[in-house]
């Protein structure tokens, strides 16, 4: 076999602490190595050309590149060797950057370790065989999970691109958090005026099927061929019949139901439509408060409904949706501020969250857009905003910045002045984070034009005094303690992962960070991909995001799906398990152990044998270590290949002392 080896400098990233020329020289001495050299940037255009040229000049059968993590550039170099006419699996990569140069300073030992790693790769390559990917068909339907602005954007972009879209929304209406906002920063334009038309587009788009009040139950399959079970939760109203006339909601006598859309600052009727612009505009019943369902009395809505849509006995229903790709756009939830006992822990009616304040500001909210205190309905004069409630606070396990609170607080301060010209706002902040376009100017306007008094410091306690509240904080710039007598206190609560996010992640087989936010495939270069092929991310499920970023991500995820579906067939990864029929005794241990259900029993001339469904196999290798016969082998990671690597390493003379 004729192997070519390329030791990359990575500028000074590797060459700074590894003698790359020496590594090339040492590895060049190995039996199968026909060509060995060092190269400045193996991944660059001249670097890749150098590899291609060497393959041709020296008639190489395979190539080893010793450089960075395969995560990033293995696909790059596989394409390179393919361009030179080799099979792409006749390539091995040794990571001498993350595993060597970035973690050790001693040039001599670094160089030795780099030689070891490159030699291991050479040994593996001698055992490599060309592998050919199989092709399989793609179901060009996409599911978007979550109907907030990111999900809406993704759904519309996919649908406009000609794809069939299934949009699954947990609550009774799409619109997400944005639908609850009164205005948006930094333009102070009306949230529902810009979101509303998009929601209507969703409802009317011929390519979009919307399941509201529904959740993903289970996900089977793989990129191109997923099968998602969607649970449609009972609404007790037949939505095919309901016209959204709202007659039932006017007459329902049970008026104390929790109003989730209004963030619990008001109550609603047991049968309700979330808000006037709701999509779908359909009524649903909260069974906890329905007198008919709880006590078998009433039944008013059934009598009134002109289309006879009420179904008190409705059950949850599960539908199976075959799709080829999934976009998770499940958004975020708000930090539970009642954990701050020093802010009253939820005991003070006029200490509210920023989202509750949005509902107060909103003309379609329960106060019709007049700012009034929840406790007594009085107009507040002094309104205090407290930022970073549940953000940048290690003591409540929320060390991260939620990113958008500075901006919405400035907006709310501006709006307060607009609504109540005699009011005075105070904003307690730690730092102002306003790096977006026109953002910093916006916060300046709140101070300069709207007279918001910004105070740099945290608030230590809030307590009632008469019908006001004492807000005691610090002004660290003045170096003193300060107190403000407030009529209303608005807590800028931070964002946290949506409830149930980790649960869904496990169904989708994607990873999430310790706070429950979904992990993208690469922080910078693959922001909407996940490590599970065919599953993409949009919006705040990946981390707190404002509207522009969420929309951008929605579109980005859609373009990824459109790109994926631009091919009629996809190639399966040939690095999957494969059974040696002659050795297999049909014991079935691998079938039991496979976490993906990728192995089935087949009949081979009257004998049971294991058979791998290649498109389902994820290449995890659990079966290969289970098989008592060594009959099932993971392609490209066969026992022989791994042993060759081990041998290469252990044949080295053990010069290291184990200090």
């Amino acid at each position: 076999m004729k192997i070519g080896v390329f030791i990359c400098h990575c500028g000074s990233n590797i060459a700074g602490t590894v003698d790359v020329a020496k590594v090339a020289e040492e590895v060049g001495k190995l039996p199968d190595v026909a060509y060995s050299t060092d190269t400045m940037y193996a991944c660059s255009e001249p670097g890749q050309e150098g590899i291609i040229q060497a393959i041709k000049d020296h008639n190489l059968d395979g190539v080893v590149v010793a450089s960075c993590t395969p995560r990033m550039h293995e696909p790059t170099f596989r394409r390179t060797v393919e361009r030179a006419g080799l099979n792409r699996y006749m390539f091995e990569m040794a990571n001498i950057r993350e595993h060597v140069s970035w973690i050790g300073k001693d040039k001599e030992s670094n160089t030795q370790k780099a030689v070891d790693l490159a030699s291991i790769a050479v040994a593996k390559l001698t055992q490599d065989r060309p592998l050919i990917a199989k092709k399989f068909g793609v179901n060009k339907r996409v599911m978007v999970i979550g109907g907030g602005v990111a999900g809406i954007q993704a759904a519309l972009d996919c649908a406009d691109g000609g794809l069939e879209v299934v949009l699954v929304e947990k609550t009774a209406t799409i619109g997400g958090k944005m639908a609850k906002l009164d205005k948006t920063f930094p333009t102070v334009d009306c949230s529902s005026c810009i979101l509303g038309p998009k929601m209507v587009d969703v409802a009317q788009h011929p390519n979009i099927t919307l399941y509201a009040n529904a959740e993903v139950d289970s996900v089977k399959g793989y990129v191109g061929n997923f099968e998602v079970a969607v649970k449609k939760k009972a609404t007790y109203v037949d939505w095919t019949a309901c016209t959204g006339c709202g007659l039932c909601t006017e007459k329902c006598p049970s008026k104390k139901a929790t109003d989730y859309f209004n963030e619990k600052i008001a109550t609603t009727t047991a049968i309700s439509i979330a808000f006037p612009q709701a999509i779908p505009k359909k009524a649903s019943i909260d069974p906890e408060y329905c007198i008919k369902i709880t006590k078998d009395k009433c039944g008013v809505c059934e009598k009134l409904c002109p289309t006879k849509a009420i179904r008190y006995d409705m059950q949850d229903e599960t539908v199976i949706e075959p799709v080829g790709a999934i976009i998770a756009a499940t958004g975020y939830d708000l930090f539970d501020y009642t954990r701050y006992g020093e802010y009253g822990g939820g005991r003070y009616p006029d200490v509210i969250t920023s989202l509750q304040y949005e509902r107060i500001l909103s003309a379609s909210g329960p106060m019709a857009g007049h700012i009034k205190r929840p406790s007594d309905g009085k107009e507040p004069k002094n309104v205090v905003f407290v930022q970073c409630v549940g953000s940048r606070d290690k003591s409540v396990d929320r060390p991260y910045c939620s990113g958008f609170c500075c901006m919405y607080t400035a907006k709310q301060a501006i709006q307060t002045k607009d609504h109540l010209p005699d009011s005075q706002t105070y904003v307690f902040y730690m730092d102002i984070r306003a790096p977006g376009k026109m953002y910093d100017e916006f916060t300046r306007r709140a101070m300069e034009e709207y007279g918001a008094r910004y105070i740099r410091g945290r608030v230590a306690m809030i307590y009632p005094k008469g019908d006001k509240y004492i807000v005691r904080g610090a002004d660290t710039l003045a170096g003193t303690q300060v107190e403000v007598e407030a009529d209303l206190v608005v807590l800028a609560v931070g964002a946290e992962a949506a409830k149930g996010a980790s649960n869904l992640a496990e169904k989708l087989r994607i990873s999430y960070d310790k706070y429950g936010f979904y992990m993208e495939s690469h922080v910078k270069l693959r922001p909407v991909e996940t490590n599970t092929a065919g599953v993409f991310l949009a919006g705040s499920c990946q981390g707190p995001k404002d509207i522009p970023s969420s929309v951008a991500q929605g579109s980005a995820a859609a373009s990824k799906v459109l790109g994926l579906f631009s091919k009629d067939e996809l190639e399966s990864d040939p690095q999957v398990a494969s059974v040696d029929i002659k050795r297999c005794v049909g014991c079935g241990k691998c079938i039991e152990t496979c976490p993906f259900g990728a192995i089935e029993e087949t009949d081979f001339r009257g004998e049971p044998k294991a058979n791998v469904i290649e498109t389902v196999c994820q290449g995890c290798g659990v079966c290969t270590s289970t098989c008592p016969q060594g009959a099932i082998q993971l392609q490209h990671f066969t026992d022989n290949q791994i042993l060759a690597e081990v041998n290469a390493l252990c044949q080295q003379p053990l010069v290291t002392s184990f200090e």
């Binding site: 020093e342 290690k394 740099r456 306690m461 610090a474 660290t476």
Partner: protein, 188 residues
């Protein structure tokens, strides 16, 4: 206000010692001011507690050891309880006091004398003798008017014992103080 030369006046040994003794990392403080906001004594401090933290980060030994705030902190634990970075701020205040004592500072004399007198009383009797403490404190500070008006009430309520409640183990307690004097500092 004077200019602080941050390169020259930074006393790294001092910072390390306070960190070692308090088992806290002062770099965790991001100057949110929550400690100052909650501290009931901010009104009386010459340097608010968040600025004590700041000056500690800046290694300003003399300013800190000579400040009055150290002696006015009641260890009420408000700062420690609410610090978003879980810094035990009250412990740092305590440890700064320890160091101030060692280096001979005591910027609120009346407080220091009161505490010293208290401990002398414990050392002498094994338990605090409240009446003796008051008399001794007044003698040491010369503040004869201290709580004069409360005397009659205390006496008529029978709340002040005239004799110390000495205990058998008094010598043991005294030895605690003596052995402590001999003990080497842990973070010296």
């Amino acid at each position: 206000m004077h200019t602080i030369n941050l390169t020259e006046s930074f006393d790294g040994d001092f910072v390390r010692k306070i960190e070692c003794e308090s088992e806290q990392n002062v770099s965790l403080c991001y100057q949110c001011g929550n400690c100052t906001a909650g501290c009931p004594y901010t009104f009386a401090y010459d340097i608010p507690v968040s600025q004590v933290m700041r000056l500690l980060q800046a290694g300003q030994k003399r300013t800190l050891l000579s400040c009055k705030s150290l002696w006015l902190c009641a260890t009420c634990e408000s700062c420690t309880t609410r610090c978003p970075n879980n810094i035990d701020v009250a412990r740092i205040m305590d440890v700064l006091r320890h160091e101030a004592r060692r280096q001979g500072y005591g910027s609120e004399r009346s407080v220091k004398v009161f505490w010293d007198t208290f401990l002398d009383s414990v050392k002498r009797h094994g338990r605090v003798f409240e009446m003796g403490l008051a008399v001794e404190y007044i003698a040491r500070t010369g503040r004869f008017w201290t709580d004069l008006e409360l005397g009659p009430a205390m006496l008529s309520k029978g709340k002040l014992a005239f004799k110390p409640h000495s205990i058998q183990g008094q010598a043991e307690v005294e030895k605690i103080f003596e052995r402590f004097q001999q003990q080497k500092e842990q973070c010296a």
